[in-house]
């Protein structure tokens, strides 16, 4: 892989035996696909999509709404209402397909970009904004929605998920594909390089824990392309740890649903972990602070636009399922409503007070923090009325 260390004379790098070049966006990539970018249903020998068109309409609605939520949040950031936003643009199918495959008792450990999965788990989108607005660090109750808090330290949540799954084992909560429980951990292509993620693979494998590792390979870790993290397809990592890995077209919501469904069933039954690599693309910037023109080509983006996860479902619904305009218009109207509610909610979020934050460092408060809180409160009160 002489390209990876330029500056070193190429002749010292004989070609390696193992495959080296990561698949290019322009090449054909091997993965599970059930709906083509053109909206055509295709079959796969190992995975089938067994829901009806109503369900597909539901997926369309989910994807459209979360994209709208995402767009609105980006706008709110641009207008100074949020400090930051991490957009899921392009990853809707990966998130909705896997999210809709979850049972009510399954537990989710997200990164910071799983707004679509949050939606599937019933988290009020407004609750997602607090972290980015800087008023809280995730204001939903993870137990209510079976959706853990966003984790910013890359990869850390994969171990939490594995430990949680070990808890499910110990609770005898696994057993069969319907009633058993599973855990799903989301992470990115970049995260796959963290020690924690690989330790999670080891734990999950050794304890045969009911956990699905769902990697959204969106080709980028901020400015670093996937070949900074691996020289072979990521899903193959799992084999080295002794459990199955599968690559799915991450822009195909039918396929991500089917593949997730199967992996979750395996976990719930007690057959252990699976790694899913959802092959997709981060259509936007890493976050609103990022400037992708510094490191990637606009052609790439154009190429991926042709694989849009929502467009292909719309094409299918229109051409094959005979869904008419009304349906789409209705969803668009609903999306506008969701966006308006989100915006209004954001603008009226109460301003937090530092004094409220001294009491949640510990369950059993310490005298020192009581003192610091009191001193701060007294100090702050001395400015009352003044403009600091």
């Amino acid at each position: 892989m002489s390209e990876s260390v330029p500056g070193i004379t190429p002749e010292v790098f004989a070609p390696v035996e193992a495959p080296v070049s990561p698949p290019q966006a322009s090449e054909e990539v091997e993965f599970v696909q059930l709906l083509t970018p053109e909206g055509e249903r295709v079959e796969h020998p190992d995975y089938s999509f067994d829901l009806d068109d109503e369900a597909i309409k539901g997926f369309y609605r989910d994807m459209t709404l979360v994209r709208r939520i995402d767009t609105e949040a980006t706008a709110l950031q641009r207008q100074g209402e949020l400090g930051l936003w991490a957009s899921l643009l392009g990853q809707e199918a990966a998130q909705i397909g896997s999210g809709r495959a979850l049972n009510s008792k399954d537990m989710v450990f997200p990164t910071y970009r799983e707004h679509g999965v949050a939606w599937c788990q019933g988290v009020d989108p407004l609750r997602l904004l607090g972290l980015f607005r800087g008023v809280d660090q995730g204001a939903w109750d993870p137990r209510e929605n079976n959706f853990h808090l966003y984790t910013i330290v890359i990869g850390a949540q994969t171990l939490h998920a594995t430990g949680y799954a070990m808890g499910q084992q110990r609770d005898h909560a696994i057993g069969d594909a319907e009633n058993g429980e599973a855990t799903i951990a989301y992470f990115g292509d970049g995260a796959s390089s963290q020690g924690d993620v690989n330790e999670a693979f080891i734990w999950a494998s050794v304890f045969n824990a009911p956990v699905v590792f769902f990697c959204q390979n969106n080709q980028w870790a901020i400015s670093e392309p996937i070949d900074r993290q691996t020289r072979i397809p990521l899903y193959q990592r799992a084999a080295g740890f002794g459990f199955p890995g599968v690559r799915v077209d991450g822009n195909d919501v039918l396929a991500t649903y089917a593949v997730s469904q199967q992996a979750l069933s395996r976990a719930r039954e007690g057959s252990g972990p699976t790694l899913i690599e959802a092959y997709t693309y981060r259509m936007g910037a890493h976050t609103t602070s990022d400037d992708p023109t510094k490191y990637r080509l606009s052609e790439d983006l154009e190429h991926w636009k042709l694989k849009d996860p929502i467009e292909r479902v719309r094409a299918y619904l229109t051409r094959t399922a005979g869904v008419d305009h009304d349906f789409f218009d209705q969803i668009d109207a609903e999306a506008d409503g969701v966006a308006a509610t989100l915006r209004a909610g954001c603008l009226s979020m109460p301003e937090p007070e530092l004094t409220d934050f001294f009491d949640t460092v510990y369950v059993e408060q310490t005298p020192q923090l009581v003192e610091q809180k009191e001193q701060f409160a007294a100090y702050a009160a001395s400015f009352e009325g003044e403009v600091r």
């Binding site: 450990f109 809280d136 660090q137 995730g138 204001a139 109750d141 993870p142 137990r143 853990h148 808090l149 984790t151 330290v153 850390a156 994969t158 171990l159 939490h160 998920a161 594995t162 430990g163 949680y164 799954a165 070990m166 808890g167 499910q168 110990r170 609770d171 020690g195 924690d196 330790e199 999670a200 080891i202 734990w203 050794v206 934050f357 009491d359 949640t360 460092v361 510990y362 369950v363 059993e364 310490t366 005298p367 020192q368 923090l369």
Partner: protein, 325 residues
């Protein structure tokens, strides 16, 4: 009444906690059949099964990271780190996850995780097996940090640590594992977890210590009697938070204080105690708060540890200095 060692005290405390609450699980390297390299978990796997006494893969970040997940599921994991120097691969999970989860969730999530760390020197071990990294945890908001100094405290404090809903880093003075005492399990613990105790009363100066140094300071206080000095010895027991009222009361009485710990000098726990005591007892102090500690070098090869570690003589030397003001 049973005679126990400090190590057996923790073992018995773990057993009691596991009997009392089926959600308590113990996890770490070699804690099962072997019973841990110090035998502190001896017999637990046999009695509570491999499901509750978990021999883990060899990876500390994995131990703590999965403990976080177990805690989120309602378990109360007690993690063993084999030696002080091996906690650092897990440091990120401790600092960024265990310590912050309650705060991050604005109180919705609790992290009742105990991290047991045999620590300190004096056992003739090789590198990484004799360190005292307590500052690196006590500085971190969200963690509580304690250390037991005698077998009876070992028995009760480990149970109190497991019972609290906050994460506790539990430092075990490994060279005192074989110290013996009488334990009466039927007498409830004398003190809550985060309270210091005056283990010897005195009038001339206060020795503030914890963990392995409690015994050393008691010996020094005994020896100081010959010089006509009555030293008060306070076993801090809790390093985060410090029990300041007990510390202040003692120092206001004796007007002189020395903090004794094995951890390096600079930014060791003694620095905070010295700063606080000075602020609170400014007009009471006859002398600055002095510190008798490990040096600001990595822990040396063990043939030199006797010189590196504070001992009776070094403590008495400190007493001489503090009395000299």
């Amino acid at each position: 009444m049973t005679k126990i060692t400090l190590g057996k005290g923790i073992n018995a405390g773990l057993r009691a906690a596991m009997e009392a609450d089926p959600k308590v699980v113990v996890m770490g390297e070699d804690i099962g059949k072997l019973g841990g390299v110090f035998r502190v978990t001896e017999g637990l796997q046999k009695d509570f099964g491999e499901d509750r006494v978990i021999d883990t893969p060899l990876a500390e970040s994995g131990i703590i990271g999965t403990a976080v997940g177990l805690a989120l599921r309602g378990y109360r994991p007690v993690c063993e780190i084999q030696f002080d120097g091996f906690v650092f691969p897990a440091y990120d999970q401790i600092i960024n996850q265990v310590a912050k989860m309650h705060f991050r969730s604005h109180g919705r999530i609790r992290m009742p995780v105990v991290i047991r760390i045999p620590y300190g020197g004096g056992i003739g071990a090789v590198e990484h097996h004799s360190e005292s990294p307590e500052t690196l945890f006590a500085h971190v908001p969200g963690l509580k940090v304690v250390s037991c100094g005698d077998p009876v405290d070992a028995y009760w404090m480990i149970q109190q640590a497991i019972a609290t809903d906050d994460p506790v880093v539990f430092f075990e003075p490994k060279r005192r594992y074989h110290e013996k005492a009488e334990l009466d399990e039927s007498v409830p613990p004398a003190l809550p977890l985060h309270q210091a105790k005056v283990v010897r009363e005195g009038t001339d100066a206060t020795l503030l210590c914890y963990g392995p140094m409690v015994k050393t300071c008691l010996q020094a206080a005994e020896a100081a009697v010959e010089d006509g000095r009555q030293l008060e010895v306070v076993d801090l027991r809790t390093i985060s938070p410090f029990d300041l009222p007990t510390i202040f009361a003692s120092v206001k009485k004796t007007r002189r204080a020395i903090v004794v710990h094995e951890a390096p000098y600079t930014l060791g726990p003694g620095s905070e105690i010295a700063a606080r005591v000075t602020e609170e007892c400014f007009y009471h102090l006859e002398a600055p708060v002095l510190r008798v500690t490990g040096f600001d070098t990595p822990y040396p090869p063990s043939r030199m540890e006797e010189d590196y570690l504070p001992d009776l003589d070094r403590v008495l030397d400190g007493v001489d200095r503090v009395m000299g003001y």
